[in-house]
Subunit: 233 residues, 2 copies
């Protein structure tokens, strides 16, 4: 694969660029609610795919991730027996997804990749969430793309093909960079190139993730600095 044929790098965000598990677990632990931050983070994220499926099946109308996060939060606060939070505290906690910390290599890796490619997000997170996150964390996107732009969640082909259409390039000139094989498979089915990023601790130290290579991907990298090195940036 000639890296020169790729023009656009589109990045999955949650787990790939930022550490949702560690960030949420730390913030929940710091709130001293008497619950385990690790379990709370996993439960919150666990509600994510089912909630998006309710939207994509038509059961719910188009709903931003901020609002889906809140639906899930209300449910897990009950499940974890937390009744002490005010509405303002719940609103603030819900926006922890805007305050996720990047993995240690993310800012440096993206900065190097940006020198040669147009780098954009391609996340199911909404535009406001992704922008607030980038501003806080220093993620140097050329452009913030989101399911919100395409009115469809990944792995809907409208999202992957939407990136190529936005930039008026062929699908094979776009590469999706993600830590999730299912996301990459969806992109590949649309003709995009794919780069897998190992994030063995995405679900926390207690649940190390299988990060074995899938030869179907165009690149397999340890982290974003490794990807930059492989792409000659």
């Amino acid at each position: 694969m000639d890296a020169a044929q790729i023009k656009i790098l589109a990045f999955d965000i949650f787990g790939t660029v930022v550490d949702w598990h560690g960030s949420i677990a730390r913030e929940v632990d710091a709130m001293q609610l008497g619950v385990d931050g690790d379990a709370f983070a996993l439960a919150w994220r666990g509600g994510y795919v089912p909630a998006m499926q309710r939207v994509m099946s038509g059961e719910l109308g188009w709903t931003l991730i901020d609002d889906l996060h809140r639906l899930i939060l209300d449910e897990i606060l009950q499940r974890f027996g937390i009744a002490s939070l005010s509405e303002e505290q719940k609103r603030h906690l819900n926006k922890v997804w805007h305050r996720l910390d990047p993995w240690p290599d993310s800012v440096a890796g993206l900065t190097r990749l940006k020198s040669r490619y147009t780098i954009c997000t391609l996340s199911n997170g909404n535009i406001g969430l992704l922008t607030n996150m980038a501003k806080r964390a220093g993620l140097p996107w050329d452009c913030v793309l989101s399911a919100e732009v395409f009115r469809a969640y990944k792995p809907d082909p409208a999202t992957y093909l939407g990136v190529a259409k936005v930039f008026d390039v062929a699908p094979e000139e776009v590469m999706l960079v993600a830590a999730h094989q299912s996301d990459l498979a969806g992109a590949r089915a649309c003709g995009l190139r794919t780069a897998y990023i190992e994030r063995p601790l995405e679900f926390g130290a207690k649940q190390p993730k299988d990060v074995s290579p899938d030869p179907a991907n165009t690149y397999h990298a340890k982290d974003l600095l490794d990807l930059a090195r492989q792409l000659g940036c």
Copy 2:
């Protein structure tokens, strides 16, 4: 007006942040087509509002500005008697709108404004155009918003209110920054704050523009550095 109440600065682009007239005139003059670059730039821009009106009236389906620019270009190439361009040359010339040069104060002004506010585009230009322009010119947007996101062109209220919705803030926490009173009036009618930027040479040195203040605007600034100064950035 307390500048601290404003959270988001949304910028008009063509004429406000970049010099469409000078950039296009220079590129057309350099092509040595035997036409006057100044007149060609004005004619191209002159087709812009009527073309958008064809979309907003429903005569044309939703159409990106890149495609509207091409419709107008084909028409004015004929009008100026230019028959020598290949399809590839026309495609390249059409993308001159991606290669517009910023006004001399734009990058420094935006960089200062970004230190305190979330800065985004709010342009009728499409996302790809705005992203390519920003990458080439070094415009440091936190987020690229466009008519393409809202599927409506300014001055449709869906665009101004769309910015507030994307960032989950009240309309009065958003300020539109633009060199066009009509754009600012549209934003004001939706409850946004407004800042007028003088760009007396937007239409070239032969057609200086009236840049008198309208007291209805929240701010009136000579350029983006002056706005940064007024906002204490």
